[in-house]
Symmetry: C2
DNA sequence: GGTTAAAATTTTAAGATTGAAATATTTTTG
DNA sequence: CAAAAATATTTCAATCTTAAAATTTTAACC
C-alpha cells in the first residue's frame, strides 16, 4: 500500500530492476561525492571548518537542550568514537560545551555555546545557498519527487522490523 | 533544451526551491550514508575488505589495460594521495599490480592481477545483489527517473565549462 | 547487598582522506 | 640547449572514521 507503482510493481525480481538499482546507487554516490567535495572545500575556505564539524553543529543547533553523545552519533549515523574526537575539537574552539547529565554520570551532554549558535546561524544560511546553487538545475518539483521516492522506500530494509507481511 | 520542466522552470529563484533542494541534499546524504554503512559492513564480514578497496578494484576491473594513478583518483573523485595508500594495500594483498608506463617515467600504471580480477568478479555479483536488496523498495522505473534527473542536471555547476549559452 | 548484565562513553589501532609540500620527470620557451 | 613551467606521483601532518576493547556507571536479579 505504500508502493503505488502500477505495472512496474511486478518486475521487482528480474535482472532489469537489479541493474537499475545498481545504476541508481552509483549515481547517488557520484552526486554525493561531488556535493560533499564542494561543500568541504567551501567550508574550509570561507569558514576554516570541516564538513563533519558543520554536521555536528547542525545537529546540535536543532537540539537546544543539547544531545547525548550517543544521540549525536545516531543522528549523524557515525560511530561513537568518531563523535568524541570531533566534539573535542569543537570544544577546543569554544563552539561546544560538554556537561554531565545530572542523575546519570555515564552520560555526556553536548550543546552549542552562544558563540557556536551564532557562528552556525551564519554558516547555515550560506550553506543553504551553496547547496541550492549546486543543485540549481533541479527544480523544486523534481527535488520533492526524489525526496518522496527515497523517503519511506528505504527504511524497512536493515534490521527486519516487525509487521512485514509477505 | 535540457530542462523540460514546464511551469516549475520559473520558480528557481524563490525560497521554496532553496528549501526543497536543501531537503533533497539531506536526503541524499542520509541514503548514501545508510547504504555505504551496510556495504562496508558486509564487505568486511564477507570478504575481509573495505569499500574504498572495492571501489578501486571496480574502476580497475572496467579498465583492462590499467589506469594511471591520476585517472584512478579522478574516476573515484578522491585525492591523489588517498589512492596511493589504498593501492599500496591492494598490492600487498596481491590483488593489484603497479608498473611504469614506457615512455613517461612519471606515470604509474595500476591494474588488477588475475587473482584480483577473479576476486572482484565474485564480489561484484554479490555486491549488486546487496545494493538491489537495500533499494528493493524502489522499482526500476523510479530508479531510472531519479538517475535521469540527477544525471545531466549536475555537471555544469563547478568549473564553468565552455559552450553554455544562456 | 553483592554479583552480573546492560548502557554510555572513551580509548586504541588501523585505515581513509585531504591539502600542501616535496620529488621526479617532461614539456615549453627564450 | 638551459631555465622555467607544467605534469604525475608520493610524502606528510592533520583530521576523520571505524570496530573492538577498556572504563565507568547504572540496572537487574537472586
Amino acid at each position: 500500500m505504500i508502493n503505488l507503482a502500477t505495472d512496474e510493481a511486478v518486475e521487482n525480481h528480474g535482472d532489469e530492476g537489479d541493474k537499475q538499482r545498481l545504476r541508481l546507487w552509483l549515481r547517488l554516490l557520484k552526486v554525493s561525492r561531488y556535493i560533499e567535495g564542494e561543500l568541504r572545500e567551501r567550508l574550509r575556505k570561507e569558514y576554516a571548518t570541516t564538513l563533519p564539524r558543520f554536521d555536528v553543529m547542525s545537529a546540535l543547533y536543532r537540539a537546544e537542550k543539547g544531545l547525548k553523545m550517543s544521540e549525536l552519533s545516531a543522528a549523524l549515523m557515525v560511530s561513537n568514537g568518531n563523535v568524541t574526537g570531533i566534539i573535542e575539537r569543537l570544544v577546543a574552539e569554544g563552539l561546544v560545551l560538554r556537561e554531565p547529565l545530572p542523575g546519570d554520570r555515564r552520560v555526556m551532554l553536548v550543546l552549542l555555546t552562544p558563540e557556536g549558535r551564532e557562528k552556525f546561524r551564519d554558516m547555515a544560511l550560506v550553506h543553504q545557498g551553496w547547496v541550492s546553487e549546486l543543485l540549481k538545475n533541479i527544480n523544486a518539483r523534481d527535488a520533492a519527487t526524489i525526496c518522496d521516492i527515497l523517503d519511506v522506500k528505504l527504511v524497512r530494509t536493515s534490521a527486519g522490523r516487525e509487521g512485514e507481511k509477505e
